[in-house]
Symmetry: D2
Subunit: 270 residues, 4 copies
């Protein structure tokens, strides 16, 4: 075991905690932390494909609906952007004040999940955090609300609570209906697992090309240098990040401005 | 002199170079580096107000036009977003491959300025870098092209070259027309200075509230602790960043999700 | 007097009523009814320029605000589209159910003005109808609400009621503040007159080129044929409508698909 | 046979031609001509579901791609709007100058299909007209171009020409690859049939609720009054149009402004 490369937001988060607690015994490259990963795969890959998967599974439209996005990280931003583009009115729930302010500036309403719950028609959990949506939140939601997860997993939703109701009925492929204590109906998509993985074809192939190219080049670096690195969480090298982005741009026929000697000097003067 | 707080992207960039070269003798807080600054002031403040200033000065519309945005940092992203929202087809020119790829994903065409120049009807320089637009670029542009600067200053445009043509005529308040060697007309807005400062009322007041609140709280910190910091460029403290964002959210009637003990534990487990 | 050509929505509406009541003694061409007029001038001209005028006069931003658009005709759609593009959450108030449903699908909230009033931060009247905003509506609005008119005129706002309060103070150029009976502050822009005319440079020049070209060609037709037409409201001829649109497209370098004999036959077969 | 009700744009078009040629022997209600139909079903139903079906079948993303939309009627506008929202750069090809000008104002490039063909990565035919895309157009397209139809049918694409090449290979479910005479690859989705019908679940259910409600109420009218109407193409009654839109708004919790006596009088005065 020479090292590892981690692809997901929630994985990197857990590895950092492991390292803080002295439990990480190898070096890990945080591929998710690369701009060439999270600015594209998370926003346009997971964000887009989860919204599309929901529409494909339910045959609903978003125009005219209130959609709550819990968490405004890269995935949540992607979900919100695509839902709004399809005509939804988006409400964002966040812990972080700066991300909340971003959501406000992007044209979304900002409310705590408790405050927003009564208006919700569709809820996307996009936090990567266990227990982000609680039984108390669900009890405040209206009859017929749809719950699903984008990016993370079923641990974000109160599945234990819902399953303990012993009212689960599969009403359509990938759609389970529960009756809550208050007599309302809750619909959960794909058992609450990440929509794009459980019930769609995954992210679009072009965006996976970016992420998997980062992984391949990072793996090469681990093979040659991983053994020498002390345990810890390391960034992808800027050279790899840039090389992958440039390859994609070339493929799209895009051209980059050249960093001339004059521009280099201008950037490095004061 | 206890220290300083720097508000602008180009100022922070220069201060970092000074520090690398050992020329910085005081501690400076990079207010521009705070998320509560650059995610709002640069994108929604400068980006929006420069697009609006151009329309106000020229009485043109953007629908149907090709707009080149040189530089896709925060200001460039703001200009591109607002220009596209008003119906322009935006072309982005960048040195950085990852930013260029972002522009591509945001729906813009990506080309070097040389490649894009022949199509340009309006060019916004948003680089903060001297000489970003060269005489050679201008000679490739079509008759009647409009040049202006968003965020930085006239040093981004080839003003020496244009002024040496000795053909300057003021054709409308804040609009100067030049005849190039190739016999084409070039229009420069506000002598090439940053549009929102030179020819508009500056950025909207709400966004300045964010930036100036950061400055005020940072100044307080410099007064009490600045003397003890070694020379260098320091970030705004997360407490200040969050406090300012929270104040604005409260004012807007937005509510934040609370970080419960359960959520805190979930975030810090693996 | 050979005939007339009417440029505005509210003008054409009044002329139709005149004709129904037998009061119209000449032939009038409804230039506003031409697609080459109302799809562009009303949406991109008046819609855009009224939003911009408001921002210019107040130095506010729309990101994060609740904007009520009263009336979802061409001008209202233009105001709503531009306000949403700048980050506002838009609420549309309509009498017509189909237009209201369009607003819902465009991502806006739909409420009667009475229901929406308590949330309003900025209200655009875009109805062309006298008394569209009543004193009762205003009394339900929050402290500091801003009222203005897009496209029509001050008759849409309860100016008599406001002026009778005898509390008018000019607090900024083009901004008048009133204190209501309930002790709240109301701000009116430009005496309530159409924003783009009273307090901006009017519509962008390219969009006026369309409207004034329609007027010029229509005037030519009135000169030659107007005398022979019975009183009534007539449409612009399709030839004029198309000729003006084609001229603008040529100027923009756009090319049209040609109606070949094969396509013509396909369109006219069953 | 008491009469009929026609749901589609191309159906109504053909019926009008039949009537002009004296071939229509019954009365037909043009349900597609109702605002409550074409402003929603065509734009948000067919437009949205065809874009989604393409992404679902191909697992591609639109961000960064050039998409040509042939025809800018309701369906074409819906395709263009959703493709642009997903990051595509859209080129619109039109015969009608006014629709072309709308496309330009909506931020799209406007070119004849011949001019646009070399840049196309994905082509949506949205014309309802046989032969809209010709063999000559296809020969000008780049290697790997994807062809599909939104709203109409395979008759819009040069399927006879492609099939005569005798190179068809199914490379993925619903995707057929052809090699052209020039040695380039062309991919056709779903045999060229309307994407939302052939390869997706059809339009979202809410939008079909509108269309089918119009059909049901129209059928009731045909049953009671159809026998008495002379042959011809008739509009849906405004009462039905409004009743269906109001029902949907009520379901969404939206409220309408009430037409008071004062407003009625204001609308009908001059």
């Amino acid at each position: 075991m020479l090292g590892a490369a981690e692809e997901t937001t929630s994985g990197v988060q857990a590895l950092r905690v492991m390292h803080e607690q002295g439990a990480l015994k190898i070096s890990v490259i945080a591929v998710n932390g690369s701009r060439t990963k999270y600015l594209f795969d998370n926003v346009y890959g997971t964000g887009q494909s989860c919204v599309m998967a929901l529409l494909d599974i339910t045959n609903l439209q978003l125009a005219g609906r209130v959609v709550i996005v819990v968490g405004y990280g890269s995935v949540g931003q992607g979900v919100a952007r695509h839902a709004a583009a399809l005509g939804a009115r988006v409400v964002v729930s966040e812990i972080d004040a700066v991300k909340a302010l971003q959501a406000l500036h992007d044209g979304h309403r900002v409310q705590s999940l408790s405050d927003a719950a009564p208006d919700a028609e569709i809820v996307f959990a996009a936090t990567g955090i266990a227990g982000a949506v609680t039984p108390a939140h669900v009890e405040r939601m209206q009859d017929g609300v749809i719950l699903c997860t984008a990016g993370g997993g079923a641990f974000e939703l109160p599945m234990d609570y819902l399953n303990a109701l012993e009212t689960a009925t599969q009403v359509r492929p990938s759609v389970t209906e529960y009756a809550t204590l208050a007599g309302k109906t809750v619909l959960v998509i794909g058992q609450g697992d990440c929509l794009s993985c459980s019930d769609a074809e995954g992210n679009p192939i072009e965006v996976m090309d970016l992420s998997l190219s980062l992984q391949a080049l990072t793996a090469e670096g681990i093979a040659t240098e991983g053994r020498n690195r002390p345990p810890g969480v390391y960034p992808v090298s800027p050279q790899i990040e840039t090389a992958v982005a440039e390859a994609r741009l070339r493929h799209e026929g895009a051209t980059l401005e050249i960093l001339t000697d004059e521009l280099f000097a201008a950037i490095h003067s004061w």
